[in-house]
């Protein structure tokens, strides 16, 4: 028996979410008294996983996995799960992890719960707390299957060190026949994504036009964060819809969410509910967002943002 995590990496580095999964998985594996195994793809450096409780790493290599494909990655994870009689497989909430989870679930006849935000309430049967109604509520979900998959929400479990010496096994990826091919990958390099960001700075209609977005970008850069926007802003084409956060857009689960000129429609609030600390800057003291915020400034965005950016730069350089 074992617990397995799919440890994602990017540009040769293991992602922070993988360390979250490892820390989370370590608690479960210790309780079950079984080894904690990580699966990686095209990743050379994996020793760092040992810091967070991983005992064994299976490194997949080969031409069939040079690009992420849900099918191929799921098949490989399923193979490792079968070989090691995995009881629980833990995935992140990245777009890729959510893409392969349903395939993995069918291949292993496993149950699957996405958006899980805490350690299991119970292991027999596996009972997890997850968000639903787009962060407006939670549910406790029980999974009574031989094998179960937990999709852990990003930034919901704190990284903990549990140093272990790790065993590393290299494996060649299998190659499943498919007509599905990744033709092109268009990725803005160097930019922090909303999914991975610790800080997200979001602008609404109060910014008055796309030409003012450098204010949001400067503030986000200062904080090493990602930029986002409200639904009207993406509907009007001021910003790409990939930046739209809310019920029909992206969820945000950052440590710090700064909303500027966003009134706070119920759908937007739902999307950002999982963020830990929310700061709202708006010139309308009646903006509903203030009711959902931790800190607020009633003031003109065009005056407050440059000042805030400047002061933060000074603070960071200290």
């Amino acid at each position: 028996m074992s617990v397995i995590i799919y440890a994602e990496s990017e540009n040769g580095k293991i992602k922070k979410s993988a360390f979250e999964l490892a820390s989370y998985g370590y608690e479960i594996a210790s309780e079950m008294n079984v080894p904690l195994i990580a699966v990686t793809f095209n990743q050379d450096e994996v020793e760092s996983l040992g810091t967070y409780g991983i005992e064994k790493v299976i490194k997949f290599k080969g031409p069939s996995i040079s690009n992420f494909t849900a099918l191929q990655y799921a098949e490989n994870i399923a193979l490792i799960a079968k070989e090691n009689e995995a009881k629980i497989i833990i995935l992140s909430s990245s777009a890729n992890a959510k893409y392969l989870a349903p395939k993995l679930s069918i291949t292993l006849s496993a149950g699957y719960a996405s958006n899980v935000i805490a350690l299991p309430e119970k292991l027999q049967p596996l009972t997890v707390k997850r968000t639903c109604f787009t962060n407006k509520a939670f549910n406790f979900c029980s999974l009574s299957n031989e094998v179960n998959i937990v999709g852990l929400s990003n930034n919901s479990y704190e990284i903990k060190e549990n140093p272990k010496s790790i065993e590393i096994i290299e494996k060649d990826s299998s190659s499943t026949e498919t007509t599905l091919k990744v033709e092109k990958l268009e990725k803005s390099s160097g930019k922090v994504t909303i999914a991975d960001a610790d800080v997200v700075v979001s602008g609404g209609r109060g910014l008055k036009g796309p030409e003012n977005w450098h204010l949001i970008e400067d503030l986000a850069d200062t904080l090493g964060g990602a930029t986002a926007c409200s639904k009207p802003v993406s509907d009007m084409g001021w910003r790409p819809h990939s930046e739209h956060v809310g019920q029909t857009g992206k969820p945000v689960a950052s440590n710090l969410y700064i909303a500027i000129g966003v009134s706070g429609a119920i759908q937007h609030l739902a999307g950002v509910n999982s963020s830990k600390v929310k700061v709202v800057i708006n010139n309308d003291p009646e903006a509903p967002f203030f009711k959902a915020a931790d800190y607020g400034i009633v003031g003109d965005a065009f005056e407050v943002i440059p000042k805030l950016t400047k002061k933060l730069k000074e603070f960071k350089s200290k």
Partner: protein, 248 residues
Amino acid sequence: MKILVCISNVPDTTSKINFVDENTLFDTNGVQFIINPNDEFGLTRAIWMKQQQSAEVTVVTVGDNSCESTLRKCLAIGADNAIRIDLKPTDGFQVAKQLARICQETIYDIIIAGRESIDYNGAMVPGMLAALLDYNFVTNCVALDVEGENAQASREIDGGIEIISCQLPLIIGAQKGLVEEKDLIIPNMRGIMQARQKPLKVIEPTEDEIKSSILKFEKPIPKGEVKLVPADDIDQLIDLLHNEANVI
């Protein structure tokens, strides 16, 4: 070309979320139900393929008869016929299994489902359906072009776009971007009248297997009062974020 669009009947995005029966059941009292927004983006794309490529569009839902007004709305928007599998679903796998059966009886070239429903947010039905049928699958789909037996689909990834080509049959997980909000079709009177005459077939569910069950719901703890900082005292905000909130 035959297209199947899978529809989920969900509470309107402005709904207040409450629970009854000791927090084991969603309180539908006073709640308006709509087509799941991600499904509606997909349905609109399907209607375009009907208009431009003479596709036939079927909509399907797994649900009790309270879902029928949502299905009629899909017909009014332009779908040709509707299927309702008469089962109140409790689990994503169960829904995928029921849908798989429909797709084994009739071969659809393209199957569209929202990438996730806005009520249970499971994000598993389209992917499980694809795995059950062994069909190609692209989720978070923001563009789709079909020519003959081939499709090109774009998937939104964290921080970019991936362009994928494959052969049909294809299942996509639809979301905003596949069509824009302004492209959504508001049914006109003619559409609504026609929808009444269009076929809506109700079929019995088959074997009913589940892999998860919801024990109870919980609402978030209400937030404390916001701490307001004067606009001319940015230092105070930075101090609070650093020393109190520990986020910078």
